[in-house]
Amino acid sequence: MSTSIDVEQVEKPSGLLRTALRLKRTQIGLGVLIVMIGLTIVGPFIAPHSQTEFIDMPNSLNIPGALFGTDYLGQDVWSRFLIGGRSILLLSMSATLLGTTVGTFLGLLAAITKNKTDEFIMRIFDVILSFPQILLALLLVSMFDASPILTILAVALSTTPRVGRIIRGAALSVVERDFVQAATALGETRIRILFSEVLPNVTGPLLVEVSLRFTYSIATIASLAFLGFAPDPTAANWGTMIQENSAVIVIQPWGAVLPVIAIAVLTIGTGLCSDGLSRVLAGLDRGGKGE
């Protein structure tokens, strides 16, 4: 009988995340994201004024001690900018987390049941998907109130079916593979097969989907605030700031332009990350090194 000599040592191929980090666009995207998140964390502590403090005449520039002047009520634009990112980021992160978790679970469940449960989940998804994301969120927050919880629920609800469909698609091909059959033959429980056999094999698409949904959540939550559905209308919030100060953009541009830049940079950062991830995933799917 022969003994096995490994003639060739094969290195373990590095995972999606690590490969993606070698791409320029992911590095830039992640860098931008870290800066923006850092800004929203540190911002409130370094803000020279409180978010509701009246410091001078409204809509004025060139005020000593106020870098970007005052807004339409005479509050410090710079301070409100530094403070106003936190709620958007917190809300969109929570909404993304909730939406993708529920979506992933339902997607996996649909893929593994392949019967009436699958049908039921998918048709519910179709109903939710028939509403544009912002419309569904608006409907909910305008029916009740724009509390943080409800905003998160509303955005998560519109995120769930989008994630669910992707995960179901990815999981369907995994479920057919022999190692899932092998686990079935051994008598593993359904729930274990779901989380231990199938889930680890859909992390690639899941990661891409999380970063993509995060981008959309930021935009949706900022839009809701712009339309007047912020949890606290008097508090600083990038979306609210744009709406409040857009009328006076000609005389005092910073009040609207600063939050616009912030939201744009934030979404570009997450967008670059998700793009890098999906490029690598597509490359890996084709069997390449993911360049």
């Binding site: 009988m1 022969s2 096995s4 000599i5 490994d6 003639v7 094969v10 051994l186 008598g187 680890p200």
Partner: protein, 590 residues
């Protein structure tokens, strides 16, 4: 006779790294002759085949070399001249006919396209008559109805014959056949091979036949070139290669190939060929060669003539008389153990279509029962029903006297662990996100053992399948196909099973690895008293491994009996035709 195809010193590199995929390939084929290019997966066979068409795959670049088709050098031509040469001067028959024909076009139209692209024939009538002529040559109907069919309305063998007709359409002088019969059943394969042989000799075409199946080589080829790690290690006439192989690698290949005409113990070889960039500067086979010396490892061996048009790249040729590669496992003994698994009138199907009818089988302790049949015969459905993976069946199954429930979920844990199923494709049967240890402890953990206790058995089991302990911490991606299949077997052995259901476990593996796996199963059976149900379409292999054979056709068992008598002296006409259609090395050389 003049050369139809001449490849001179061909070298192709991986574009990114500059490492060679194939190097120093020099082959010539006379008109009307077939040369078989033999090698394991990854040896560079297809790369050479495509280079003859002046084509390189993405990421592969030509370093040096020339390819002459007749008097034309292909590699030096510009793109448009290459395009004209393809199909006209040199043509290609790919492996999978179902994906090489355009599913949206009728076959008549596809044949016409070739002729039009190369301005063959000057009128529509001339082309029409050429199409009919081509169809006649490959033994297909020539009527309009048939030509108006779409590829999916043809059988696999018919599709491949359309592929052959397309390749021969413009009367090329060179044809490259890339494993054209790999996906086909033996009887279809026999017809396709006959067609290829007849077409090449009739039209004086030089054919390069790429394959890994030595029995097919013996059947169709005049000459053989053996490719190992991108180098031609031995070249010669078919008879010389099989009866007097000079290179140790060729010897191992011949020793590993099962043969339907003789009862033969197959001998495997462990390890794998080094991939591009990992090749040593000396002989690439030195790492696995029992005769290797420092000289082998340090300098790349030159071609040595060992006979009339027979050469090998081995410095040991002529110096050392190679000992015969002898099987070490003792011959299969016929066991008369007690019945362990019994099937009584099992019928199975998918919703309303029945694919298995009244199958009754008995497997005894320590016995290897081979279930053979062509694709669609229902053999896999039977094995899946035994494994509890297919629920739609009627009849009854008894395991150690107790009746088995339909699906794995309804069976008791002990039963599930006692009957272990091993899958065809080792690339799919292991979870890529788990280490080998985590994969193979599962049967014991399900059996109620703690993970730590179960972990203790891992090393014992890895040792049983001849894998080093270090493999426990690896991931499936780091293993070769043969090693993965060993891991799959190790997982099955964890729970001390009584029956192994092996579903085509060697069909995705190269012949040397196949022999090693067969070897392993044989010794496990002997040492552990396992009963094995070996499901396969590979008849020659059956003769090397099984005690009893059940031949299945269209969902029924048509012949059952001891392996030697069923294959050596078949009674049923179906079995007879199956065996006659199976190519055999011994029979071809006779």
């Amino acid at each position: 006779m003049s050369d139809g195809l001449r490849i001179v010193d061909l070298r192709l590199d991986v574009e990114a790294t500059g490492n060679d995929i194939v190097d120093q390939v020099t082959i010539s084929i006379a008109k009307g002759k077939v040369l078989a290019l033999v090698g394991e997966s990854g040896s560079g066979k297809t790369t050479v085949g495509l280079a003859i068409l002046g084509h390189t795959r993405r990421g592969v670049s030509l370093n040096c070399g020339q390819v002459f088709c007749g008097d034309t050098e292909i590699l030096g031509l510009d793109e448009s001249a290459k395009r004209k040469a393809r199909g006209h001067l040199v043509s290609y028959v790919p492996q999978d006919p179902s994906s090489s024909l355009n599913p949206a076009l009728r076959i008549g139209l596809q044949l016409r396209e070739i002729l039009e692209a190369h301005n063959f024939g000057n009128s529509s009538e001339a082309r029409n008559s050429r199409i009919r002529e081509m169809m006649e040559e490959v033994l297909l109907p020539t009527d309009d109805d048939f030509l108006r069919r779409y590829p999916h309305q043809l059988s696999g063998g018919q599709q491949q014959r359309v592929g052959l007709a397309m390749a021969f359409a413009c009367r090329p002088s060179v044809i490259v056949l890339d494993e054209p019969t790999t996906g086909l059943d033996v009887s279809t394969q026999a017809h396709v091979l006959a067609t290829i042989r007849q077409m090449t000799s009739k039209h004086g075409v030089a054919a390069l036949y790429i394959t890994h199946d030595l029995a097919v080589v013996a059947d169709i080829a005049d000459e053989v070139a053996v490719l190992y790690a991108g180098r031609v290690v031995e070249q010669g006439l078919v008879k010389d290669i099989f009866t007097r192989p000079a290179h140790p690698y060729t010897r191992h290949l011949v020793a590993a190939a099962p043969d339907i005409a003789t009862k033969k113990e197959v001998v495997g070889l462990s390890g794998r060929a080094p991939s591009p960039g990992k090749r040593p500067k000396g002989c690439a086979f030195a790492l696995r060669c029992a005769l290797a010396t420092d000289e082998c490892r340090n300098s790349f061996p030159e071609e040595v003539n060992v006979g009339v048009s027979h050469s090998a790249r081995c410095i040991k040729v002529g110096q050392v008389e190679h000992e015969r590669i002898a099987p070490k496992v003792t011959a299969v003994t016929h066991s008369q153990g007690s019945p362990i698994l019994e099937l009584r009138e099992v019928s199975a199907g998918y919703s309303s279509i029945m694919v298995v009818h009244d199958v009754s089988l008995t497997i005894r302790k320590g016995e290897c029962l081979a279930l053979v049949g062509e694709s669609g015969s229902g053999k896999t459905t039977v094995s899946r029903a035994i494994g509890g993976l297919h629920r739609e069946w009627t009849g009854s199954m008894f395991f150690n006297g107790t009746e088995l429930a339909k699906s794995a979920r309804q069976r008791s844990t002990e039963t599930r662990l006692a009957i272990q199923y091993i899958f065809q494709n080792p690339y799919g049967s292991l979870n890529p996100r788990r280490t080998i240890r985590d994969s193979i402890v599962r049967p014991l953990v399900i059996g109620g053992m703690s993970k730590a206790d179960a972990g203790k058995s891992v090393l014992t089991v890895l040792d049983q399948v001849n894998l080093p302990a270090i493999y426990a911490t690896k991931y499936p991606d780091q293993l070769s196909g043969g090693e993965r299949q060993r891991v799959a077997i190790a997982r099955a052995l964890m729970s001390n099973p009584e029956v192994l259901v092996c579903d085509e476990v060697t069909s995705a593996l190269d012949v040397l690895v196949q022999a090693a796996i067969v070897d392993l199963l044989g010794s496990l059976r002997k040492n552990l008293g396992l009963a094995i149900l070996f499901v396969t379409h590979n008849l020659p292999l059956v003769r090397s491994i099984a005690d009893e054979v059940a031949v299945m056709s269209e969902g029924r068992i048509v012949e059952f009996g001891p392996a030697e008598s069923v294959i050596g002296n078949p009674q049923q006409s179906y079995t007879k035709s199956l065996i006659t259609a199976t190519p055999s090395i011994a029979r071809s050389l006779r």
